[in-house]
């Protein structure tokens, strides 16, 4: 039952697939963005999992502690989260503009109005 011990990676894979599926399958522009967020979050979880060390503590220098979790992935993911927020904001702003221009945010209804190849 060794693979159960890697359960966080299984969660990562599941989230990734769910998110990716939503991005591809959903016709609603907001839902696509939600899917994209889930997809990205799975990658964040993945990075955080990398940093984990069995028996390690938070990377703060304390007397008597020798095993620390790796702090670098946390820092990276902090940056990545900021990027993700910016992307979501950008995406939502675009969706607002789409709604203004077309009166709908459903992909098939938009394509009825404008043929985008």
């Amino acid at each position: 039952m060794e693979w159960l011990g890697l359960y966080n990676y299984w969660v990562v894979v599941a989230l990734m697939m769910i998110g990716f599926y939503i991005v591809i399958a959903q016709g609603n522009l907001i839902k696509k963005l939600v899917g994209l967020n889930i997809f990205q979050t799975s990658v964040f979880v993945f990075f955080i999992s990398l940093a984990h060390l069995d028996g390690g503590t938070a990377p703060i220098a304390l007397p008597g502690v020798t095993a620390y979790s790796n702090p670098l992935p946390h820092v990276l993911i902090l940056t990545a989260i900021v990027v993700g927020v910016a992307l979501t904001a950008m995406g939502l702003a675009l969706v607002v503009r789409v709604q203004e221009a077309y009166g709908t945010i459903e992909e098939d209804e938009i394509h009825q109005q404008d043929e985008l190849h």
Binding site: V83, M90, L94
Partner: protein, 493 residues
């Protein structure tokens, strides 16, 4: 001062961006400031290029932190080459932009527009400079976010939709890249490209590294619009403002190709990529399909901007093909084409920008009679078009010659034949435009249409002239490309 150049290179445009944003309604001032910073940035790029042209490498520790803890900027002949491309194009596109942007963007947004442009520029420069894998991801997102905003500012409402489409596909691409970088980090414990290259051989025979390679290759392929992951590109280029199309077409995909080269040759190494994973057999068919199919699609387009966008996808195919030959000659051809195609396509899109400025659009019917009404613009279009086809004495020919030699060197005669055939397709779609412009009478022949204003025309002509200059005196670019190829191959001559 001189040793701070690498930091300046990215800092100039990055710090100018918020300043320009705050200028608000002072749109003329925003333009002046943006132009000056682009020129300064180009000057820095030239200085850097000059320092590494002999094959040496500059290593710069960002903030004084030594790698692998700090972020290292490393400049060799290969990325200095790309920096010059970005610098040259942005320096030339700015004079062009003033009138074009005033016409296409509403007054109140011009400062914001230039601010986004500067960010996109800084992002691309950052990707090129940095020797840190995660940093590449961050700069990718900076330039991408700014590009989405730039594209969405197009006049047609489809511009917003194209930007959205690009956002989704672009984000999937960069996230793939991030996953790949994560895998590399677990296996090696470093993000520095140089360190990665040194530590990878020990662990290269693992599934993790192969997965990392797959994720990174697919992620970057999305960004560089490798067929069939190119779907975002034609729409984005077609509906973006003229100036944005010029800039992005000449730089964005080129930078992504550079990143692919850096990872494939610099990080994973020739041995792993081409011998162990036989990458050539994946890239070559895709490149060939990517040349043929979009070229065919381009032939049937009626909007010139869209036609050229599809041609861009095809040209990406040429560059990838050069890489897939897995030889110094092939790599040289690809690196040459980065530059030659950048100036050619920028000149073409600028000419299209001039046409849009005067005619309001560039469908083939709107172009009727443009040959007589805007002789200089169309003249530039024809010359740059010849370069795109690859007629001798133009920049496009220099690349094609090397690419074909590389094909022959690899004993791939059928590919050489195919390449010549696709040149004919290029001739076909360029000629469609020429015929419409020169040999069709305009519907309303009484309407008076003037030649594009000098501000638009001069940069166009300058770039067009450069396609001829670099076609006639090819030795300089060939030599530089060869040095860059050697740098990427790790000194292998």
């Amino acid at each position: 001062m001189l040793e701070q150049l690498p930091a300046l290179q990215v800092a100039i445009t990055l710090t100018a961006a918020p300043v320009v944003m705050m200028l608000g309604r002072a749109s003329r001032l925003a333009w002046v400031l943006t132009t000056l910073s682009c020129w300064a940035s180009f000057a820095v790029a030239l200085l850097l290029f000059n320092q590494v042209a002999d094959g040496s490498v500059i290593s710069y520790e960002m903030g004084g932190w030594a790698p692998p803890w700090g972020i290292e900027y490393s400049i060799d002949a290969a990325n200095a080459w790309v920096l010059v491309i970005i610098g040259l194009i942005s320096a030339l596109v700015m004079p062009f932009a003033r009138r074009s942007v005033e016409q296409e963007i509403s007054e109140s947004r011009i400062a914001l527009f230039y601010s986004a442009f500067l960010l996109a520029n800084a992002g691309l420069i950052g990707i090129t400079l940095t020797a840190d894998a995660f940093n590449i991801f961050v700069f990718f997102e900076i330039s991408a976010l700014a590009s989405y905003a730039l594209i969405a500012m197009g006049q047609d409402r489809r511009a917003v939709l194209s930007a959205y489409q690009y956002l989704i596909m672009g984000t999937v691409g960069t996230t793939f890249l991030l996953i790949g970088i994560g895998f590399l980090y677990i296996m090696t414990g470093t993000l520095n490209l140089g360190d990665l290259a040194a530590r990878l051989p020990e662990v290269s025979d693992t599934r993790t590294i192969r997965a990392a390679f797959g994720f990174i290759a697919v992620g970057i392929s999305l960004k560089l619009a490798l067929f069939p992951l190119h779907l975002w590109l034609p729409n984005a280029y077609t509906y973006a403002p003229s100036m944005v199309t010029v800039f992005l077409s000449a730089t964005a995909t080129k930078v992504a190709i550079y990143v692919l080269l850096r990872f494939v040759y610099g990080v994973f190494g020739f041995e792993f990529s081409f011998v162990e994973l036989s990458m050539a057999w994946l890239l070559m068919p895709l490149a060939l399909l990517g040349i043929v199919v979009p070229s065919l699609v381009a032939v049937f387009q009626t909007n010139v901007k869209r036609l050229l966008a599809y041609s861009s996808v095809a040209q990406v195919g040429y560059m990838i093909l050069g890489i897939s030959f897995a030889s110094v000659l092939g790599l040289t051809a690809s690196i040459l084409h980065l530059f030659n195609h950048a100036i050619t396509k920028a000149a073409l899109f600028m000419a299209v920008g001039c046409l849009v400025y005067r005619l309001g659009g560039v469908s083939l019917t709107q172009l009727a009679g443009a040959g007589q009404r805007m002789p200089w613009t169309m003249g530039a279009f024809v010359v740059a078009g010849l370069s795109l086809i690859g007629i001798p004495l133009t920049a496009g020919f220099v690349t094609k010659w090397h690419l074909l030699q590389a094909a022959l060197e690899g004993g791939l005669w059928p590919i050489a034949v195919l390449l010549l055939g696709t040149s004919l397709l290029a001739a076909l779609y360029i000629w469609k435009v020429v015929e419409a412009a020169y040999f069709q009478e305009p519907e309303d022949s009484t309407e008076v249409v003037h030649e594009a204003p000098l501000g638009l025309l001069l940069p166009t002509l300058l770039l067009t002239a450069s396609t001829v200059v670099f076609g006639v005196f090819g030795s300089f670019t060939v030599q530089s490309a060869r040095t860059a190829a050697a740098a990427l191959m790790g000194g292998v001559p």
